[in-house]
């Protein structure tokens, strides 16, 4: 990996003047990834915050070629671009030694839910592209409606606290990173802005791995999480240290956990600063809080088991 000092001199992928909120993870993710893209990036983006806030006609914040076509098809759109690139190269219309990184972005709504089929198809077809999900845990662009990435217990505008529903969302979040690993693609990773070096290494790995790669990156959303803009990175750190958002990778089928907290922080530390979980701390919801912890412990154990199994198998 290049030196941080050198990377700071690299032009931002997303220029200043875009209208994403202060403390939003998406723009930081784009620029961190852009720094690791040695070849020029070509970007496609699903409808959502990242798209609407960066391309307000006749302006654009993107310093790389960018396309938006619709909500559920960022992966399919970029797959078509990548196919075009290969075709134009083979016909001599683009020089044979030309190099590009094709990157598709989507929020969790555009990735876990409505864009899931398109993503699955593009990954299965083996396009040389990287799909990046900036997961903020709900449909934040339209005002915080639940998605299948919304954590258990979160209050959203479509899982509001009611008389009988006192826990907010009553379903577990989809483990999309594991689902993508089940596609048997060369590289899948989950990352967090707090562990920036790990994130940048994963970006570099995704870009340089031939074939499809998938990155799932936690993207704090002060508006939706009901948090302070200045707390976004600290919340990312708590997400990792509580094992709510473990950082790991599946490299050619081998599971590796990239950070194992020495002392796992109780999940309440991650939940407490967030307005979307405030109700969980009200009297009567103690069981719900305990259940959230149990589920995180269970998932963490399962992840460690997968990593240890991979390790044993490699050792043999």
């Amino acid at each position: 990996m290049a030196k941080l000092k050198d990377l700071t001199h690299k032009e931002d992928t997303l220029g200043s003047g875009h209208r994403l909120c202060p403390g939003c993870g998406a723009s930081i993710i784009v620029n961190q990834l852009g720094r690791m893209s040695e070849a020029p990036m070509v970007v496609g983006c699903a409808t959502g915050c990242l798209e609407v806030a960066t391309t307000i006609y006749p302006y654009t914040a993107w310093n790389v070629p960018f396309i938006h076509s619709a909500f559920e098809n960022s992966a399919a759109t970029v797959s078509g671009m990548e196919a075009a690139y290969e075709a134009l190269k083979s016909k001599g219309k683009i020089p044979a030694d030309d190099k590009r990184n094709f990157v598709a972005f989507g929020g969790d709504g555009g990735t876990y839910d409505i864009g899931f089929q398109s993503l699955s198809g593009a990954m299965e077809r083996g396009h040389n592209m990287t799909y990046v999900c900036y997961d903020n845990g709900a449909y934040m662009n339209t005002g915080m409606q639940r998605s299948s990435a919304t954590p258990y217990g979160a209050a959203t505008s479509t899982t509001p606290i009611g008389t009988h529903a006192t826990a907010g969302k009553e379903e577990y979040r989809k483990d999309l990173t594991a689902v993508m690993a089940a596609h048997n693609i060369p590289y899948v990773a989950q990352a967090s802005l707090s562990n920036w070096k790990d994130l940048m290494r994963k970006a570099e790995k995704a870009f340089t791995t031939p074939g499809p790669a998938f990155l799932n990156i936690l993207s704090p959303c002060p508006r939706g999480w009901r948090t302070e803009p200045g707390d976004s990175i600290e919340l990312s750190r708590l997400a990792v240290s509580t094992c709510y958002w473990p950082i790991f990778e599946v490299d050619n089928g081998e599971w590796k956990v990239n950070h194992r907290p020495k002392n796992k922080v109780p999940v309440t530390e991650f939940l407490k600063p967030q307005g979307r979980f405030k109700h969980l701390f009200a009297k009567g919801n103690e069981k719900v809080l305990a259940h959230v912890q149990e589920k995180i412990d269970h998932d963490w154990d399962q992840l460690l088991w997968k990593a240890d199994f991979s390790k044993d198998r490699t050792a043999e």
Binding site: T55, I67, S69, G80, A84, E86, A87, L88, K91, K93
Partner: protein, 409 residues
């Protein structure tokens, strides 16, 4: 107003042509291959499937140099086609019925982004009830998506329309996608005799692709599909888009003229068959045009002054040209191979009638819905329509409503 039909072509055909026996789908697949597309994004659906299969076979044998992308749905087929076209590739796909319906959202985006994607469509009824046979419900559901739509009477016209569609769609004044319609099974699966051009001649006629954007080839960085908020330019974009669509009429005529000089086969916006002195006429599209022509010949032999207008270009709709071609008739029947389900009959009926509203002396009109779900239309059925027109009483005809042709009671 552009001329509606072409002048007689006296040039000797210049293109090298061979007679072939092909299904409509094979003819279309061959035309697509001859256009040397950079990217084919395709998903199979009856009755389009053999187009996709044959393109895959061409690609497997290196007769097609572009990339073949086996997508997982029609929504992704159109999305991938959009990505490829925006990246600077000549981009094609094909579909039918439910496949088009699944693409619906993306049809508007392909047209709005001004991407000249070519999409043959083997027309099929829309569910429910599920029915795989030919009618125009699919095409009519997409009639105002901003795509150019051409209809083909037989395999020859489907082949010719496919070749010509690239020239029209990619023209600098147009830059819009185009659907080439051919009736499911009736044309798509029936083997017909047709003349095909050599790959070289077809390739030379179509020429190098001229993409709308050069996202991968231009030096400057482009943002495609930007967000246009309140106070933005959406309204102006749509006006420009409609102006471009209207220009497709003249471009189609120019391209058809060139094609006629090359092949000896001439096409206009529509075919005027025995219309000049016709007292009654039928307006129809696609394979039923052949059936109608036989009925016209038969009735003409009996001394009846009947004619036919067979529409080739449905979008943009050549309203003024149609009015000029049939306005002199006493009575006109408009045959719709789809049910409008608006309570007023078929969409063609509505549009043809509206096209003649400004005429001082309008023909009496009847609108028929026929052939749904692949129901046959016979020469006798068509004769019965001319007979209805003959006996039409202008004092009692309401010019509203519609009738069914060949429906069971």
């Amino acid at each position: 107003m552009p001329k509606t039909v072409l002048k007689e072509v006296k040039n000797t055909p210049k293109a090298q042509q061979t007679a072939a026996a092909l299904t409509g789908n094979s003819a279309v697949a061959m035309a697509l291959k001859q256009a040397d597309p950079d990217v084919v994004s395709a998903y199979p659906i009856t009755p389009q499937t053999t187009i996709v299969e044959e393109l895959a076979a061409y690609a497997a044998r290196d007769h097609l140099k572009g990339k073949f992308v086996n997508v997982e749905s029609e929504h992704s087929a159109m999305s991938s086609a959009i990505g490829a076209a925006a990246a600077g590739a000549r981009s094609v796909t094909a579909t039918s019925s439910q496949g088009l319906a699944l693409m619906w959202e993306m049809l508007y985006i392909a047209a709005g982004l001004r991407l000249p994607i070519i999409m043959p469509m083997a027309n099929r009824a829309l569910s429910a009830p599920i029915n795989i046979h030919g009618d125009h419900s699919d095409a009519m559901g997409a009639r105002d998506t901003g795509w150019i739509q051409l209809f083909s009477e037989d395999a020859q016209e489907a082949y010719d329309n496919t070749l010509m569609s690239f020239r029209v769609a990619e023209h600098k004044d147009v830059k819009l996608p185009c659907i080439v319609n051919l009736d499911g099974f009736i044309i798509s699966h029936a083997i017909a005799r047709l003349d095909i051009m050599s790959d070289d001649d077809a390739g030379a006629f179509i020429g190098e692709s001229s993409p709308t954007y050069g996202m991968l080839t231009d030096d400057h960085v482009e943002t495609v599909g930007a967000f246009d908020g309140l106070g933005g330019f959406y309204f102006e974009f749509k006006r420009q888009q409609d102006e471009a669509l209207q220009k497709a009429k003249e471009v189609l005529l120019d391209v058809s003229n060139e094609f006629a000089a090359l092949t000896g086969r001439s096409y206009g916006l529509f075919e005027e068959y025995m219309l000049e002195d016709a007292e009654t006429a039928i307006v129809v599209m696609s394979s039923a045009g052949g059936t109608t022509r036989v009925a016209v010949d038969k009735l003409r032999a009996e001394g009846k002054k009947v004619g036919m207008l067979k529409l080739r270009m449905f979008r943009p709709f050549p309203a003024d040209e149609i009015a000029a071609a049939i306005g002199h008739c006493k009575a006109v029947a408009i045959l719709d191979r789809s049910h409008g389900l608006a309570g007023t009959g078929g969409p063609m009926g509505d549009e043809v009638k509206a096209a003649m509203y400004h005429l001082d002396d309008r023909p009496e009109c009847l609108n028929y819905v026929y052939g749904l779900g692949g129901r046959d239309v016979t020469v006798e059925n068509i004769e019965s329509v001319y007979s209805d027109l003959d006996s039409l009483d202008s004092a009692t005809n309401s010019n509203t409503g519609f009738r069914y042709l060949n429906i069971r009671d």
